[in-house]
């Protein structure tokens, strides 16, 4: 249909190229046909086909055979989702009931003890459901990642998260879970699960991949500062500038991480009263350096 609509000029310009798709597809079809029918030739083939068709009718397969005829390469594909003039899905489209309301899958967590959180996670529906597919058998200690300066209206950015790496039977980290933590209502929900292959350097270490002591050492080494007395470094993430993915944007040059709970940065209240951040690139930053989104994430 599309070829039929091309102008004569277009045909001349794109003659060789336009022919390529048909050549490739037809070539393969012919090869398959030769493979299928080569052993069955001549009179024997004709007899076999007659008997075969008779048997097809007898055992009730005549419908398939008939609908496949007529030169339509896909003519016996049944009508269903993905057909012309057929709603793509079963809900939400005109004339259909609304799709099920999204069930965030909140589950209770009674304290911020990592052990309590680990137990809650291990019994959560998503954790249990995915275990068979991803073959994790144990988890590391969950780490709390704080939402930093976010007021977006989206709980993913506004709430803290618990992140935990999981291990397979060999003890290798094979994945990492991220859960949104609603402190006010003492509940959590599944956000995402990332697959760690053996090629990933993080498959050999627990989350977080940069320890708090390493972060403190970086602050001390670079600025000769210590954490403020009575404070502990905290993992944080933030809603990043929406231009971060844009290759030509200055925001894309940011290499410090922090745009995901799975790649958090360390927030350290320093002995000089200032806040500093140690990125996933081990750079030391101030808050003004962070490419935090303005307004909605």
């Amino acid at each position: 249909m599309s070829h039929a609509k091309k102008s004569a000029k277009e045909r001349r310009v794109g003659h060789k190229q336009l022919g390529m798709p048909s050549i490739h597809k037809q070539h393969s079809i012919q090869r398959n046909k030769r493979t299928l029918f080569a052993p069955v030739i001549g009179l024997t083939m004709a007899i076999v086909l007659v008997i075969g068709l008779a048997l097809l009718v007898i055992i009730g397969h005549a419908g398939n055979s008939a609908s496949a005829s007529g030169g339509n390469p896909g003519g016996n594909v049944p009508v269903g989702y993905g057909s012309l003039n057929h709603a793509k899905g079963s809900c939400g489209n005109p004339g259909q009931a609304a799709c099920p309301a999204i069930d965030a899958g909140w589950f209770p967590v009674t304290s911020e003890s990592p052990q309590t959180v680990a137990t809650a996670i291990a019994h959560s529906s998503q954790f249990v459901t995915m275990q068979g597919r991803y073959s994790y058998v144990t988890s590391d200690t969950p780490a709390l990642v704080h939402a930093f300066a976010a007021h977006t209206g989206n709980d993913y950015y506004d709430d803290d998260h618990w992140v935990v790496s999981v291990r397979d039977a060999m003890g290798m980290r094979c994945g990492i879970f991220d859960f949104v933590y609603d402190r006010v209502h003492q509940r959590m929900r599944f956000s995402s699960y990332g697959v760690l292959t053996s090629l990933d350097a993080n498959s050999r270490q627990a989350f977080p991949y940069i320890s708090s002591s390493t972060a403190v050492a970086r602050l001390q080494g670079k600025l000769k500062l210590q954490p403020k007395a009575g404070t502990q470094p905290e993992l944080i993430f933030f809603p990043i500038d929406p231009n971060f993915p844009v290759l030509t944007s200055p925001a894309h040059k940011w290499s410090g991480g922090g745009n995901s709970p799975m790649e958090p940065i360390w927030h350290i209240a320093a002995s000089n009263g200032q806040d500093y951040f140690v990125g996933s690139d081990l750079g030391v930053y101030t808050q003004t350096n962070l490419p935090v989104a303005k307004g909605q994430p």
């Binding site: 249909m1 599309s2 277009e10 794109g14 390529m20 597809k25 393969s28 398959n32 024997t44 007899i47 076999v48 086909l49 075969g52 048997l55 097809l56 397969h61 896909g74 003519g75 016996n76 594909v77 269903g80 989702y81 993905g82 012309l84 003039n85 057929h86 709603a87 793509k88 899905g89 079963s90 809900c91 939400g92 489209n93 999204i102 965030a104 899958g105 529906s125 459901t129 995915m130 068979g132 597919r133 989206n154 990492i176 929900r189 995402s192 699960y193 990332g194 292959t197 090629l199 990933d200 929406p242 971060f244 993915p245 844009v246 290759l247 894309h252 995901s260 799975m262 790649e263 994430p297």
Partner: protein
């Protein structure tokens, strides 16, 4: 007597061969159902643990084949997400078709060249590749649909390889339920991975399945999460420039909550005004908006956009045509 014996032998041989032929036909005809219900190699429908409540199962592509299909990722250039996705779908489909690779150069670079070798019936949009019908900075949905169709195997009576750009003028949730019907035992696509335009059209993921309470291809299910593959990352979860703007891991499962609310995924629809992904602009204005007779202002803008394998015969409705959520041709001039 000898003649009768010869005829009897011929008849018996014919019946034997006919029965063998019937078996062959039956195998091809029932392949889709057999594949999923028996958990054979082309798809995976995994039963969840009885201890979960609610219980979800995975419906979608074969993980091992997906891993192979993405073995040349990350995308080789910053604007080649669509090209990397075509390559992944291509490799996956050929693995399904004959367990091999296509007999032509299937590198991302070759796919890029092929997308520049021809153009739509309405002319080229003047974008990064000639198959674009817009001035897209990378590959627009039309180019991806063409590339997926071109690079995948020839269609057979039981297994067509037809691709179209689906444009869902619905909510992100409904659109997700719409594409979820690609996965399960009743899908025409053998649980083929699909290309999903995200982040306001600036990027695209391959989605290879969903977690749901029952088979999405049969309808009436509840989807809990989406299995995504990010072409920005390789198997080691590294990117070419060290950034992770989207997934942190190449293969990442996202909750439906986040999938439909986070702006880097389907928290926003196609954004034709982001400076990178404009509306179609071809010499023939077939898909150049507005479409006043439909009361529709845009082709892609604000909608949820995918490239999916489907049941729409390319011989009569080619990959050049976009389809809406009702299975109708997308509004046009």
């Amino acid at each position: 007597m000898t003649l009768v014996q010869r005829r009897l032998f011929t008849i018996l041989l014919s019946i034997t061969l006919a029965l063998a032929l019937v078996q062959l036909l039956d195998l091809h005809g029932g392949l889709q159902v057999q594949a999923t219900t028996n958990l054979s190699s082309d798809s995976q429908v995994q039963t969840s643990s009885p201890n979960c409540s609610p219980c979800y199962s995975f419906y979608g592509s074969n993980h091992s084949w997906m891993y192979t299909a993405t073995n040349d990722w990350y995308q080789h250039h910053g604007n080649w997400c669509g090209i990397a996705n075509i390559r992944a779908i291509q490799v996956y489909d050929w693995l399904y078709y004959n367990g091999k690779s296509p007999q032509w150069d299937n590198s991302q670079e070759a796919i890029y060249s092929r997308l520049n070798a021809t153009y739509s019936p309405w002319g080229s949009g003047g974008g990064y590749v000639r198959e674009n019908i817009s001035r897209d900075f990378g590959t627009d949905p039309h180019a991806i649909a063409y590339g997926a169709w071109y690079d995948t195997p020839p269609s057979t009576s039981s297994q067509p390889y037809w691709f179209h750009n689906w444009i869902y003028r619905t909510s992100s949730t409904t659109a997700t339920y719409d594409f979820a019907t690609d996965f399960g035992k009743n899908t025409v696509s053998h649980n083929d991975p699909i290309s999903v335009t995200i982040d306001g059209a600036y990027h695209s993921f391959v989605v290879d399945g969903v977690w749901a309470t029952s088979d999405p291809s049969l309808g009436s299910t509840t989807v809990s999460s989406i299995d995504t593959w990010d072409p920005w990352l390789n198997h080691a979860n590294n990117s070419v420039d060290g950034t992770h703007p989207y997934n942190q891991t190449q293969n990442q499962v996202w909750s439906l909550t986040d999938w439909t609310t986070n702006r880097v995924m389907w928290g926003q629809g196609y954004n034709s005004f982001n400076g990178s992904d404009p509306e179609p602009d071809t010499p023939n204005h077939y898909y150049v908006p507005p479409f006043n007779s439909y009361g529709v202002k845009y082709h892609w803008n604000s909608y949820f956009v995918t490239i999916e394998q489907d049941r729409i015969n390319d011989a009569t409705t080619s990959r050049d045509y976009a389809i809406d959520q009702n299975g109708h041709l997308a509004p046009h001039n």
